[in-house]
């Protein structure tokens, strides 16, 4: 029982996912990567984290204090699970790295390897927690210094490149509106802004537009057209005053603008339960994303949580003949396993049951990706229903900071259509505000 690749013929003919996979298979080019010295077969262009998962390599690193095994959990650049050294670059997210021929990947922070790490003994030595802050201050200067050296050795984030990489020159851009997020809301917004005669720059971390739709196993592949200036594979990494730093392929573009619109959507969260950090514990969207690349992360799958992605994944798995346990109203009590999940305890409707599995899919409702809006100065508020923070905005997406707007699911839960409508609504408000300020 291990992760494996699936192909379009295993799925009902004509189904959305079958069509997606057929499209990938048509252009697939086999390449060979190297992970910790072992050759790994991959498809050019797919996320390296999935190439490794498909080869059964789920454990990619070790955690800083306890050296617990770490594996890809979100596959969307939101966690620490898949950090690798790629070539001589440490701390590269393997989920955001496109596989290419001859890539050399090494696991980080593990002695000797991520699969077997002697320092994992710390995990057993400190079964509840290790309060390194107190250990450092309570026992005087000498102990403190020793602990510092020890901590640095234990908790590295990879080894630095042997040679300096040199300075990569930056570019500058000036536009009326910077739109971050090329999902439904962001795409609708940039179209509206163009019609209103405003210049806009659209930025998204993914290699293509589509946002949350890109991970939908129930939708046929589509590639929305973008008529405005856009940067993909590009992260809006920092935003302050009137400037936003966009990082694309290791180079920075300084974007100045009159208004910033954050249509950053949502993130997935793995809830709190015992061993929630085991490799093989993934979010529903991570599991769905793997499927859209033709990678099945496990053969015995437990899906827990109410999010729609969980139900969609379950449907695909049944069609594939994969054994699933689906508990939309359940909650995970505990995951079990030494270096990967092997069993999970689930409580549902008052009853507790144990299920053997090799993947646990956490289908919790996603939470707003408020980070950039918050950094830009938008106020935040606690959402009592969803139990998460969300940016505060008025009906038209204006936040309490002038020139900072939010649209789409970063504001609240919305249907697909509502997301587009919201993008249009907020873009019109921006146009009105900018005309007024001229």
């Amino acid at each position: 029982m291990a992760p494996r690749r699936i192909d379009a013929r295993e799925l009902p003919a004509g189904s959305a996912l079958a069509r997606r996979l057929a499209q990938i298979e048509k252009v697939a080019r086999a390449v060979t990567l190297e992970h910790d010295g072992t050759p790994v077969e991959a498809r050019a262009g797919e996320p390296v984290a999935l190439s490794l998962a498909a080869a059964g390599r789920l454990t990619l690193a070790r955690s800083p204090k306890y050296h617990r095994p770490r594996g890809a959990a979100c596959l969307r650049g939101d966690c620490d699970g898949c950090l690798v050294r790629a070539g001589d670059q440490p701390g590269v997210m393997a989920c955001r790295l496109a596989a290419d021929s001859g890539m050399k990947l090494t696991s980080q922070n593990a002695f000797p390897t991520a699969g077997f790490d002697v320092f994992a003994v710390t995990d057993w030595f400190f079964p509840k927690h290790l309060d390194h802050h107190r250990l450092m201050v309570d026992f005087g200067d000498a102990v403190n210094r020793t602990m510092q050296v020890f901590a640095r050795r234990m908790a590295g984030s990879g080894t630095l490149p042997e040679l300096p990489t040199g300075v990569v020159p930056h570019r500058t851009r000036d536009v009326d509106v910077l739109v971050v997020g090329a999902g439904r809301a962001g795409l609708a917004a940039v179209e509206t802004l163009a019609r209103e005669g405003l210049s806009a720059l659209l930025v998204d971390e993914e290699p293509a537009p589509g946002g949350a739709q890109r991970d939908r196993v129930d939708l046929a592949p589509e590639r929305p057209t973008v008529s405005v200036d856009a940067m993909f594979d590009a992260t809006a990494a920092a935003t302050y005053a009137n400037e936003t730093l966009v990082v694309q392929h290791g180079a920075i573009t300084r974007v100045t603008c009159r208004a910033r619109l954050f249509a950053t959507g949502t993130r997935d969260v793995i809830p709190a339960f015992a061993r929630n950090d085991l490799p093989g514990v993934v979010t529903a969207r991570a599991f769905a994303r793997a499927l859209t690349w033709g990678v099945l992360l496990g053969e015995r799958v437990v899906i827990v949580g109410p999010a729609a992605t969980g139900a969609r994944v379950n449907e695909v798995l049944r069609a594939l003949g994969v054994k699933t346990v689906y508990a939309p109203d359940g909650e995970v009590v505990e995951a079990h396993g030494a270096t990967a999940v092997r069993k999970v305890t689930v409580r549902e409707k008052g009853a507790t049951a144990e299920h053997r599995c090799d993947v646990l899919v956490c289908a919790d409702e996603p939470v707003p990706a408020y980070e950039l809006a918050g950094q830009a100065g938008a106020g935040l508020a606690w959402d009592h229903d969803r139990r998460c923070f969300a940016p505060r905005s008025d009906d038209e997406g204006a936040t309490e900071r002038d020139g900072v707007y939010v649209a789409g699911t970063v504001r609240r839960r919305m249907s697909d259509e509502q997301r587009s409508d919201d993008g249009v609504r907020v873009a019109r408000r921006i146009a009105r505000d900018l005309r007024g300020s001229r």
């Binding site: 802050h133 020159p169 061993r275 939470v367």
Partner: protein, 94 residues
């Protein structure tokens, strides 16, 4: 591995540790962050702020205080790229 409940994966901060912080009187997000170090790792709070805020809400019975400002960069940025923002790096410098 042991049955820890990990609230902050990047910095290995457990539920037990956050509970200890709360017991010592740290009942706002900023103080819990300073005591435990949660939210200071690779993800800069993308995973852990929600989880810690939920624990605080449960333990105190009140809406949690607002979170700390998410620090840049949103994703790690190579130092070579940042270096160009200095005096002589960019194409816009006179």
């Amino acid at each position: 591995m042991t049955a820890k409940v990990m609230l902050c994966r990047c910095e290995d901060v457990t539920l037990d540790e956050v509970d200890e912080a709360i017991a010592l009187g740290h009942t706002d997000i900023e103080s819990v962050k300073r005591y435990t170090g949660f939210g200071t790792g690779w993800c800069q709070g993308k995973q852990c702020v929600t989880l810690c805020a939920r624990v605080l809400a449960e333990r105190t019975g009140e809406a949690p205080t607002l979170p700390f400002t998410p620090r840049p960069p949103v994703h790690p940025v190579p130092l070579g790229a940042l270096a160009s923002l200095g005096a002589h790096g960019g194409d816009d410098d006179a």
